[in-house]
Symmetry: C2
Amino acid sequence: MTDRKKKILGVALKLFANDGFNGTSTKKIAKEANVSEGLIFRHFGNKKGLLNALVQQAAERTSVLVAPILKEAHPKIVIQKTIELPFTITENEYSFWKLQFKLKWENDYKSNEKMKPLLDHLSWAFSALRYPEPEKEAVILNYIVESIAIGILRDGTQSHESLKTFLIEKYKTLLL
Amino acid sequence: MTDRKKKILGVALKLFANDGFNGTSTKKIAKEANVSEGLIFRHFGNKKGLLNALVQQAAERTSVLVAPILKEAHPKIVIQKTIELPFTITENEYSFWKLQFKLKWENDYKSNEKMKPLLDHLSWAFSALRYPEPEKEAVILNYIVESIAIGILRDGTQSHESLKTFLIEKYKTLLL
DNA sequence: CATAAAAGTGAGTAATCACTTGCTAATATA
DNA sequence: TATATTAGCAAGTGATTACTCACTTTTATG
């Protein structure tokens, strides 16, 4: 991948995340990336192709992030690592996640199956710990984690830091 | 408020919720509302003015929905009613809530203070029930409820119905 | 009933949109 | 080194955009 192509992707990610897909013109992307507008279409075909490239990058990045949890064989640590997940977001990844969460509302990009493996592994963990309704516990924890991620994207990490230990302790003491 | 004005608001709500603000043209709104395009600008000044009118309607509607919980004086019922909140969404309100949640990602309409009174009342309820960290419990429950609402908007009510009783039971048994 | 205000229309308008085309510069490959 | 392929640019293109304006129709009010 050429430097200019990477630059286009980076700028598009930031602008799509902030101003939305329809709120961002290809002209603005080109200008901010110091690139001719035509180059965007040379590389990505059309505007939607540019978004698709970003979505594919995101899918790969997500699976990398979730992989260590899926490999984890100790149920308690699976839960702990899941809780810690949103707190591993660094500021330079904000645009990335912001776009991810925004796209969940677009009809074309619902794809909630990306988190399915994590949900299944969480169910297994709760089941191993003898929770009476492991699937529901998994869904709830997944919801909590997603909301925290959204909250962090809105207000920053440190405002939620105390929630992390609180949740970890909460789930720790509930395990008997 | 004239019939045509109401019609414009209704159509705009649906289209903004589905296709986004920037993804919806005033021409399309006018056509679907059987109204001249100029009338939109006569009534709302500009396109953003139309969105603002919808946002204001939403604020009023939200406070009406939350009001009975805020009046509730029994902490256990405050929690139960909060859990039940997302399940009171009917299908004809989907567009309304969809737009609400989408707007949370727009820089101009973050306004998360709308739910602040509910959050405070939840804190009070958990405090009254001798939870060691009532504020955090309130935040978590609020997150859960928001996520359920989002899930319902995505997959419908009945797929989440079992979660309701599960959560109510969960919070019931934890109270000593 | 007269008249002013409000509601409503439809044909514009300049600006912006995503995208194309014809071309040159760089890079890879034989 | 010759040549084919890819990367990149500048100047377009028609379509669409939010919005305006001159005008007519309806409603309210003294």
